[in-house]
Amino acid sequence: MTSRPVAVRLQGVGRRFGTNPALSGLDLTIRTGERVAVLGASGAGKSTLLALLNGSLQPTEGEVELFGGTTARLRARQRRELQRRVGTISQDLDLIEQVRVLHNVNAGRLGEWGTARSLISLAWPRPDDRACAAVASVGLEWAVHERTERLSGGERQRVAIARLLLQAPELVLADEPVASLDPTRAAEILGLLGAVNPVGTLVVTLHQPLLAREHCTRAIGLRAGRLVFDEPIERLSTEQLDELYARA
């Protein structure tokens, strides 16, 4: 395990909003191939951690490294190349609602396509083999030409996963992807997320430790912006979980 390359390294990372610290003193190393569950009560800093990892937030203290390089002080082009390797599913999915599903799925490739190709695809999207395969693997073959806003919540989540499949990122970040799903659906979605890049890294925030045990290799616990445990999943104890969710 230790021989795998480092995907994420945080050193003394903190993030404040005004005077309010959302995360502080975080040291964390995640290696390629790990499946990390981020556990913690609401407001513990889980979403902030993901935002630091995908570059939508900058840390106020410490340094975030991705794939062995720093994320601070990058040129625009270097930053884009780095960001292409990270795929995120946020809680509100960030889909373009008014367009066909295919358009949303192809959006995963806009980073790799040149300007001309992107523009053509936006004006006249055509389902090629990769797009069809991605849509099929999330079970939405029938919906390729549907308008995204007409789909149900669960189907829209699958569209977002198909978009990730086309982006093929090395690091997948998912913010509470199964928050409102029944256990069967939740397991399906986590399975799909794990399959986005079978040799890549997955960091997922969860509320259900049981699911973490089934789908992840490692669990980290956040409480009030601080790391309270960081264990291989099989060593995660009930006491640790009780402490994590206990009232202050």
Partner: protein, 574 residues
Amino acid sequence: MTDVLDVEVDDREQPSPSDRAATRVTGRRVAGRRVVGLLVVVVPVLWSLQRVVPDNGAIVNRGGLPLIGDLLGKALQPRLDAEFLRLVLDAVGTTLAFAALGTAGALVIGVLGGLVLSDVAWSRRPPLPVRLLRLALRGLLVAVRSIHELVWALLLVSVLGLDPLVAVLAIALPFGAQTAQVFGDTFDGLPVGAFRALRDAGTPAVPAVAFALLPAASPLMLSYSFYRFECAVRSTVLLGAVGVGGLGQELVVSLQSRNWDEVWTLIGGVVLLSALVDLWSTRLRGDMAVASCTDWSGGNTVGVRRTHSRWARWSAIAVVPGLLAAWFATGVSLSGLTDERTVRLTGQLVDDMLPPALPRGGWPVVTGAVLDTLAMAVLAMLIAVLITLAVAPCATALRRGSQAPASLPVRAARGTAWALARVVLLVLRSVPPTVWAVIALLALFPGVLPGALALGVYTGGVLGRLVAESWESVNTSPRDALARTGVRGPIATIAAVVPPSTQQLVTYSLYRFEICVRETAVVGIVGAAGLGRLLAENLNFFRFPIVTTLLLASFVVSVGSELVSRRLRRAVRA
């Protein structure tokens, strides 16, 4: 009607998965829809263009160009002496008073009519005669709102003479019918449990409505009322063309006597008044948590952010004394409605109007005018959309999301462009289309083209503002999400912001098209072309049977274009 808005209930339904397998959307169907969509735009535009070019090719009236030069030459020398400014101020007062009284009247009609139209209020099956009466009232409301306020003013003048009541009623009737439509939809959009519970517990209809429907509907209704007042100010200026007083009348008089320095002062007054009323009403509506015009016209009245504005709230106290002051200052009296002369003239008018007759030249004249009206509306929309595309992007302050803030000079430049674009749109929509038409008729030969130009410029101001405001509310987080996966900024914007923005542009354009068709009457009355011109000519010569025919034709055209536009708007969302 100026800025007639209707709130559509979103009737999108979620089909079950098994339905979907049957009604699957294929790539071919999507492509087909796009081709049809393109044809729906291109064919009418080409048809209209070939219709407006006269056989001899003469469009520009060279004789009129020096007049335009004179007009522009005076732009920096408006007439600002005390005497004239006092006159302008008086005119502003009159305009405000008419608008306020007209809106008040429209609200009375709106609430009563809204209850007639609302399905909730009629949830129990009343006896047949009552149902028939309701049906008749519904039809009456549709007919009343299909006639433009300027045409109403012309008809009312022939009965009441140049009475202030003409201005008030010309606003109150069509606005009232429109308001009834909106209020009816508002009632139907409310949760009905409380009302049903009261009715089931044996409460009579009137107290049940007062206790359960009105309180829940009141923020929306108040918000809409202030929005209507904004529109009423603009319409009152427009009514000046028939001579009922206020800023509009002064403007038309000055234009026709070619006192260009006065024209500029009055245009300044109109723009300023319009801006202040817009600002006040926007603040008040924001304070009531049901915000922009865009929200009203898009039927989007949930989830609007509330912006508190203390001064706006306090100023609302002025509404009642303001209405009283307006009542006494304008000397409006309802006695004019019932006096013996009015009754006699109304009877005579109805007698004169029936039976309808064809104008000289027969059906071809009527159908020609109808086609001219449609061509004018299509071209006006083309111009309005071009103006919107040119100006609205500058007038839109997109939320920057998580993107890095721009540098100070960039922000300053953007802010200046935004303010300038908003002022341009304000001027375009504040100057009434009649004035634009008079100016266009200086430079162009009478016909469809100057009418389309005038209407297009004015509609461009309205549409540009609606579209810019709706663009400001476009969700930019998908764009930020794309940018976070390494997509370059412009591409991310085109992929994630352009589709919803285009959809809004199309929806609002279709919706303004409906209104444009009705408003062709306005530019027709000052001599452009189409049904409006025919109507004005025949009214001038008291050929009332022909007027009836033309009103019926306008009604058919207006209802027809409304149905087509609705159908298309629904298709855009599918």
